[in-house]
């Protein structure tokens, strides 16, 4: 059952990811992105990482793609070729970037596994990884100070944004 779901989720993720870059209509691309992110959320669920799955749906599939759609509709883009002119050089550059990132992911995974040893590596990414409990424990115990400092950063950003757009009294 798990294997079947995994295969289905992966296929859906890959197909929709390909369709994000191949669709000409930007709205279709954005909708495919939602499908892609939802299938990745399914993969996270299969790994037992419910919190990451929920965040994936709420933040990425929800907020961010909706923001994309807003921009696309506000700008009223019918065909992406009207905005982007992608030549062969750009496609090659994109391929190279994908390759670099892929190599990095593998390298980092292998490096972590060899250095920490298989057991520790599995412990770090073990069963509790990505659950609400483990994320909460990390966030409010080990990274408590950083969590609090983020609030200062957000306050600065809010004050700054209001300062820059507020009408002059």
């Amino acid at each position: 059952m798990t294997t079947l779901l995994f295969v289905l989720g992966s296929i859906a993720a890959i197909v929709s990811a390909l369709s994000v870059v191949t669709r000409r209509n930007p709205v279709h691309s954005a909708l495919s992105l939602i499908v892609c992110l939802l299938s990745v959320a399914l993969l996270f669920l299969l790994l037992g990482a419910q919190f990451v799955a929920a965040i994936q749906v709420i933040v990425y599939a929800g907020a961010i793609v909706v923001l994309f759609l807003f921009v696309v509709m506000l700008l009223n883009v019918k065909d992406e070729s009207a905005v982007f002119h992608s030549g062969i050089a750009q496609k090659l550059a994109a391929l190279a970037l994908v390759f670099v990132i892929l190599v990095q992911v593998v390298l980092v995974a292998v490096a972590g596994a060899t250095w920490l040893g298989k057991e520790q590596w599995l412990a770090a990414t073990g069963l509790s990884f990505g659950t609400v409990q483990s994320v909460g424990r990390e966030l409010f115990a080990r990274y408590l100070f950083q969590f609090e400092v983020v609030s200062v950063l957000l306050l600065v950003a809010i004050v700054g944004a209001v300062t820059l757009v507020k009408k002059k009294q």
Partner: protein, 496 residues
């Protein structure tokens, strides 16, 4: 639990390490709130409220001067190094607040947000210098950067200010992405974000990636992010435009506090934690130092706007800092600390004079800032004290004794020679010779030429106090450098 036990418990958790940062952030919020209740006629109290926050935090640093504490599971550390940089940032902020009290009112930007963002920026800089964990360091950097993006665009009606903010923001966001990428790679390789773990992993020969591609890529990305903040060539594109368009007091703040914070973070990450990669980073820094010094000094010669000239001069000074960072070792890093302290006085002073000088009666734009270098012709005749102060700062910036700038450069270049970088030291000295030309041109104009455009100096008492403090600091560091040099050496010793 009685009071004593509670205090003891908090102390053991390392709360002390976060006290100076927290006090500055809290006073920023207090300034924001005070702004809501103050009547327009009472807004003059804002800079004093901000200054009180600065003094409060400085008092806490002084109180904790001999303490050492690591707080919150190794996120933030209080030691002599953090304390030294906290004092430098607070000194810089205090002087900028004094200079701003007249400048901001005249330019119509005397609002609570101005002082609150200055204090927030300082809290970010203090976090950068005291962080011993990459995420904390990154948050400090972002707090400082976001405050500066907004402050550089504070003249909303002026296109130059908007351009300054937009350029700084877009390039800064890009640099942050590089930095974050580097942090992610370090985390991926070592499984932790603390500096202690970095030192342990990358210092150990058994670690498979201690000298591999991953370590080099990660430190390269981190270096790009810091070089951007430092304004080093080739990551300097934003410096001239942002320095020119931003409010003058903010330019002064940017060039002093954000550079010092980048240098502090650099020493903590590369000097104290990734010292095993020192040979590789020094090779890159050598090149950066040479191009940064040379481009800064050569292009500064051609400038006609004084803020642009000082912007290129600040690029050149970032180059001298890079010479010291290339030299590395305790001598190199302690010369960075001395340089930063000297740089606070002389640069803030120079920008302070610029912020106090305006165009006088007679022109169509009377009261506007006098930013053209030619406006300084004959300043000595009308405003002898202002011209004398400017002359002291120019002499110090070009590195002539008996001023702070001379000993700052002397320590940097002698550290480079001791580290075997004789070539670099020679290039640095040649560069200082080039810089004498454009610094002395201003002195020449002020004392030897007739006035072309009538200018007048501000009578702001706070501004004059700040200038006097800068002159005093510049001369004190130039006459009695040894006790400050000892302070710098002790501070560096506390992190190795």
């Amino acid at each position: 639990m009685n009071e004593y036990a509670l205090g003891q418990g908090l102390w053991e958790m390392g709360f002390a390490a976060a006290v100076p940062f927290t006090l500055v952030a809290l006073s920023a919020m207090a300034v924001l709130l005070a702004d809501l209740w103050l009547l327009p006629s009472q807004k003059r109290a804002l800079p004093w409220a901000a200054l009180a926050g600065v003094l409060l935090s400085a008092a806490s640093v002084a109180f904790l001067w001999n303490e050492e504490a690591t707080g919150f599971g190794g996120a933030i550390r209080l030691d002599r190094f953090s304390a030294f940089f906290a004092m430098v940032f607070l000194l810089g902020t205090g002087l900028v607040v004094l200079l701003s009290s007249a400048y901001a009112r005249r330019e119509g930007v005397e609002r609570g947000e101005y002082y609150a963002l200055l204090l927030f920026g300082t809290s970010g800089a203090m976090l950068m210098a005291s962080a011993v964990e990459l995420v904390t360091f990154f948050l400090g950097l972002e707090i400082l950067s976001v405050s500066l993006y907004v402050l550089s665009g504070f003249f909303r009606q002026r296109p130059a200010s908007a351009e300054a903010a937009a350029k700084y923001f877009i390039l800064g966001a890009f640099a942050s992405a590089f930095l974050l990428y580097g942090i992610a790679l370090f985390y991926g390789a070592s499984g932790s974000t603390t500096y202690a773990a970095l030192r342990e992993s990358f210092g150990s020969a058994a670690f498979p990636y201690s000298h591999g591609l991953l370590a080099l890529a990660a430190s390269g990305l981190l270096l790009i992010g810091l070089a951007f903040k430092l304004g080093a060539v080739p990551f300097h594109m934003w410096v001239p435009d942002t320095y020119e368009g931003a409010p003058t007091t903010i330019t002064a703040y940017m060039s002093v506090v954000s550079k010092a914070a980048a240098a502090a973070a650099f020493i903590r990450v590369f000097g104290a934690s990734l010292s095993s990669l020192q040979q590789d980073t020094s090779a890159v820094l050598w090149v950066l130092a040479v191009v940064t010094m040379t481009l800064g000094n050569v292009v500064a010669i051609a400038q006609t706007n004084i803020k642009r000239m000082l912007a290129y001069s600040s690029i050149a000074h970032a180059g001298y800092l890079l010479v010291a960072l290339t030299a590395a070792g305790e001598a190199g890093y302690s010369s960075v600390l001395f340089y930063v302290l000297a740089y606070v006085f002389m640069t803030l002073g120079a920008f302070g004079v610029v912020s106090l000088v305006r165009k006088g009666e007679g022109g169509a734009d009377a009261g506007a800032e006098a930013l053209d270098i030619s406006h300084y012709s004959g300043l000595a005749g009308r405003h002898g004290l202002l011209a004398a102060a400017m002359a002291v700062f120019m002499v110090s910036l070009s590195g002539i004794p008996p001023t702070a700038g001379f000993f700052a450069k002397f320590y940097v270049f002698s550290a480079a020679v001791r580290a075997g970088e004789v070539g670099l030291a020679i290039i640095g000295v040649l560069n200082s010779l080039v810089s004498v030309y454009f610094y002395m041109r201003i002195v020449f104009l002020m004392y030897m030429k007739e006035e072309t455009v009538p200018v007048r100096g501000s009578r702001s008492r706070a501004g004059w106090v700040a200038l006097a403090a800068c002159v005093l600091g510049t001369l004190l560091l130039g006459v009695l450098p040894s006790s400050f040099a000892r302070l710098a050496t002790e501070s560096i010793a506390s992190i190795f």
